[in-house]
Structures are given as structure tokens and as C-alpha cells.
Amino acid sequence: METVVSYLRKHAAYLAFAVIVMTIPAYLSDSYYLSILAFVATKFMMALGLSLLLGQAGQISLGQAGFVGIGAYGAAILTTRLGWDPWLAMGTAALVSATIAGLVGMPALRLKGYYLAMATLGVNEIIYILLIQLKSLTNGTDGISGIPPLSIGGLGLSGPRAYHLVVWGVALLMLRFSLNLSSSRVGRSLRALHRSEPAAQSLGVDTSYRKVQVFMLAAVFASIAGSFDAYYVRFISPESYTITFSIILITGVIIGGLRTVWGAMWGTLVIVILPELLKRVNDDITNLVFGVLLVAIMVLWQGRTRGLWQMVKERRSRSGPGGSRPPGPGE
């Protein structure tokens, strides 16, 4: 009994969040809002991986959208051309993403931060070019339509409510996994190498191995999210997987804050909701706002790991000298 109570207390935030999210379909039936929430779920998966990579390990990837693209196209091609089961196709695509991330990450992550940024930018661009050029496989710029929806044991998941439960179920599993990871030995060694790589190495952390590991994990999360989107929209085309989208994901993670993986959730809400609001002013203004936010947050950045909200809060409550506390990542 005691262990149950302490478990509940320890994971209260997660459990409350899970309950709220999973009961949404019970009182929300509007399919427009449900579909927005479905995209929040997949963008959350993409942001989660990035948040681990950026916030915990301090490594930056500008190519997350490339792995989303592999997930989406892998799922679409394997199901429409070869008639594979959607779940099997999703897993295979994730395996491909992990392999590519490993091949790129192993050499690039041994180098300074710039190189991973540029290498991932390059990988994203190459993937994008391949999606357009390998016409016999991808249909080029026309994209692929007629992708089958997901199903479980013959039960179709094309309805928005059933899909909501499945996609958020997976997103919650990923969140749980990320929370566990960040409070485990792996998370601590990632944060250690973020602060100082030589120090982490001297404590016996295999820094290259850890960095590649979390980079591959981020690629797998992105790939699975891409597959989900493909099964949900049932149509994909290359424009969704550009570097621009990678940068928008980065924006979300940064706005949400890097201190904990929860930041990925707030950031995802911002990058989904803000464009919807800005659309009413001007369709094209969104990226300008995102760009200004990225620059502003970085310029005002004091510690390492604070998001927009924490910065505003601290600025308000700052009283007298010594107001800035040393950056300390919590769970």
C-alpha cells in the first residue's frame, strides 16, 4: 500500500496529465478539435525526442523533419505498394530511421556542436531531395495517397475518438519513457556531458555512445510520429518534411523550455496553436514570429535550461541582487 501511495505521489503530474488527455474524447466530440489534438500528439512525439537531445544532452539536430519523412514515407510505401500491416510498416520505418541516425550520428557527434547541426541539416535536405526525385517509389511532388488507416485486431481506427486514444496512448508511453530516462543514470550522464564533456568522460561516461544513443532515440520518436500522421491524413507529400519544419520543432522545444521534458508539451501547444491564431492576422507571419522568438530567447538566455515562461516568471520575481540561481535541471 505504501509503495502504491509513494508511486502515485512521485508520478502525480504524469498520471494527472494522462487521465486528462485520455478522457478528452469523452466530452469533446468536435472532430475539428480532435484532429488538432491528434496533430498535437504527433508533434509532441517529435518534440520529445528533440527535447531529450537538446535539453539533456545539449546536442542540436536541425534534421528532425527528415526522420519524420522517413517514418511517413516508409509507412506509406510499405502499406500501399507491398500491402504490409501498418504497424509492421511503422516499426520497419523506425528501424530505418534509427539506422540512418546511427550512421550519421556516430561520426558527427564526435565533433563539436556545429557539425551535428550542419550534418543533420544536410541529411534533412538529402532526404527531401530523394523524396522528390525517387519518383517511382515516392511519386515525386504529387505525394502518395490512399494510405490505409491503422487498425487493431481488425478493428479500424479511422474514427477520431479511437484514433485519439491510440495516438495519445503511444505519446504518453513515450513521455513516460523520456521522464524515466531523464531521471535515470542515462539522463544524469547526458546532463553531465552537457555541462562538460571532459568532466563526464573522466567520470567514466562514454559520451559519444550516449550522444548517439539519444540522437537515435529522437529519430525513432520522430519516425513513429511521421507514420502516425501518414495513417491519419492518408496522404503525404514532400513539402511537409523540409528543414523549415525541423526549425519549427526546435522553436517549440526552446519555447517550452529545456529544463524538463515537460517543456516539449508546452512548446508543442505553442507551435500548433500560435499559427492558428496568427493565421487571422497574416498567413505568412508565423515564421517571422518564430524567428524573432528564437533570437530573443537566446539573447535573453541566462542559464542553460529555461523556457519562455520561466524567464518571464523570474524577471517578475527578481528582487534585489543575487536573483539568478545556478541552472539546475530537475526531473
Partner: protein, 292 residues
């Protein structure tokens, strides 16, 4: 491939190679002064082209549009340095990458809001009548691009080697702290490097616009290719930047001839990845200082 075709690809490679060389030069100037990779470098080139088209459309003569565009991009680059780069100098790579990536978004979207989504062009500097060289045809603009690139590169080298301030800039690239102890104003060096980068980028953008058009989104590809060129030559080495630019341009052009035009843009990234994996110091890089 006949000799004429080969020559034709070389000419086209040298032309785009000039632009990559100047873009790579922009990366190098900023990197040497600040150790920052400016992810909005390509957007400065794009702004150069777009502003010149705007000025020309507003009735300015071609040379006036050229100089006006250079002046405006210099102001943009200096303003960017004051607002975004200076506070970032001590903040670590992550913040620098993200802020300059954010700036690239700002430049790109601003260009789209001002000039729209369509690619635009300028008339060639001196007529469109093609010349015939060894069986291949060359448009006069090619000569302008290559000629001006050579002039810029030589002038830069003279400046860095011969003038006192140029030597101060180089001193900062080697060791900023020691340079400051010698009484060199580091912040002046940084501002100057950004101004120079703005000028070179704008010139590159204006020169290439009559040949390959310019759109709000052209900057990101140009920037990545410029970076690939800088890496290929050896990051931080100005001679390497120019060399890398021309090699990349020629390989890309020959690649179009041998493989297919659709994969043209992928070549630069394959080269970039190869350099990163096989020889991160580039062709002319000597020290292995950036590890870890």
C-alpha cells in the same frame, strides 16, 4: 561527354562556384572573428539579390541598385551583430546556433512579406549576347561574376596581409584574448567582420541574380552550399573557402552532366557529410583543434 560539353559544364561550375566561394568567405570572416557559424549567412546573400531587384524596380540604375544593396545589407549585418551576436559571444554553441537559425527565419520571412513568393531576376550587367569560347558559349554575366569574385578575393587578401587593421583582425582569429591584451579593440573587429560579410554576401547575391534568379527561399540552399564549401576548404581558412567554393561548383556542374539535374543540390550535402566524416579539417586545414 564531348569536350565542348565538358567546357560548358566547367563554365557553369565556375560561375556558381564563385557565389559559393563568396558565401564561404562570409562564413569564414564571421567564424574567424567570433568562432560562430552564422546559419543566416545564405539569407544575407539572398537579401543582397532581392534588395537589388527592389531598388532596380524602383527606378535605380543597375550600378546604383548594386551599391545600394551592398550598403543596405551591410547595415542589416551590423544591426544583426549588435542585436543578436554580441550578447551571444559567451553563451555557447547551442545558443549561437539557435539564434542564428532564428535570424535566418526572420530574414527569409521578411523577404517573403516584402517581395512576395515569386523568384525575381535582374538584367545582366552588360548585355545578354553570348560569347563563344572553345566551342562552348558563355554569357557575359559569367565573366562579371568570376571577375568580380577574383577582385574581391584579392582585395581581401591584400587587406588582411598588408593593412594594420587587417593584421589586427587576423590576430583576433588566432587568439582573441591575446589580441585584446595588445590593445586591439575586439568589438571593432567583430563589427567590421560582419560589415564585410554583409558587403561580400550582397555582392554575391546581386551578381548571381541575373543568371539564376532569386527567391525568398534561395538563401537557405546557398548558405548550406557555402558552408559545405567552407568545410571542404577548411573552416576558418579564407584561401580554403575560395578553393572549396570553386571545387564544389565544378563538381556540382559535372554531376549534373553525369548523373541528373534533379540531384544537383544533393551533391553539396554528400560532399559536406564526406568531409565531416573523413576529414573534418578540410583540404587546407592543418590543426585538429575542434574535436571534443
Amino acid at each position: 561527354m564531348t569536350f565542348e560539353q565538358f567546357l560548358q559544364y566547367i563554365f557553369s561550375g565556375v560561375t556558381s562556384g564563385s557565389v559559393y566561394a563568396l558565401t564561404a568567405m562570409g562564413f569564414t570572416l564571421v567564424f574567424n572573428a567570433t568562432q560562430i557559424i552564422n546559419f543566416s549567412q545564405g539569407q544575407l546573400v539572398m537579401l543582397g539579390g532581392m534588395i537589388a531587384v527592389g531598388l532596380y524596380g524602383a527606378g535605380a540604375p543597375l550600378w546604383g541598385a548594386f551599391l545600394g544593396s551592398v550598403a543596405i545589407v551591410v547595415l542589416v549585418a551590423v544591426g544583426f551583430e549588435r542585436i543578436a551576436i554580441r550578447p551571444l559571444l559567451r553563451k555557447g554553441i547551442l545558443a549561437q546556433v539557435i539564434a542564428t537559425v532564428g535570424a535566418s527565419f526572420v530574414f527569409e520571412t521578411a523577404a517573403m512579406l516584402i517581395w512576395g513568393r515569386d523568384a525575381v531576376t535582374l538584367p545582366a550587367f552588360s548585355g545578354e549576347e553570348p560569347l563563344s569560347v572553345g566551342g562552348a558559349t558563355v554569357v557575359p554575366q559569367t565573366l562579371w561574376v568570376v571577375g568580380l569574385t577574383i577582385v574581391i578575393v584579392v582585395a581581401l587578401q591584400l587587406f588582411y596581409r598588408k593593412s594594420l587593421f587587417g593584421k589586427a583582425v587576423r590576430a583576433c582569429a588566432v587568439d582573441a584574448t591575446s589580441a585584446r591584451l595588445q590593445g586591439i579593440s575586439y568589438s571593432r573587429v567583430v563589427i567590421f567582420s560582419f560589415a564585410l560579410t554583409g558587403a561580400i554576401s550582397a555582392a554575391a547575391g546581386v551578381m548571381i541574380t541575373p543568371i539564376s534568379f532569386m527567391g525568398f527561399h534561395s538563401g537557405s540552399l546557398l548558405g548550406m552550399k557555402g558552408f559545405a564549401a567552407a568545410m571542404l576548404g577548411g573552416l576558418g581558412n579564407p584561401v580554403g573557402a575560395v578553393l572549396g567554393g570553386f571545387i564544389l561548383g565544378i563538381v556540382e556542374a559535372l554531376g549534373v552532366g553525369v548523373v541528373s539535374a534533379g540531384y544537383k543540390d544533393a551533391i553539396a550535402f554528400v560532399i559536406l557529410l564526406l568531409v565531416l566524416f573523413v576529414r573534418p579539417v578540410g583540404l587546407l586545414g592543418a590543426k585538429m583543434g575542434n574535436r571534443g
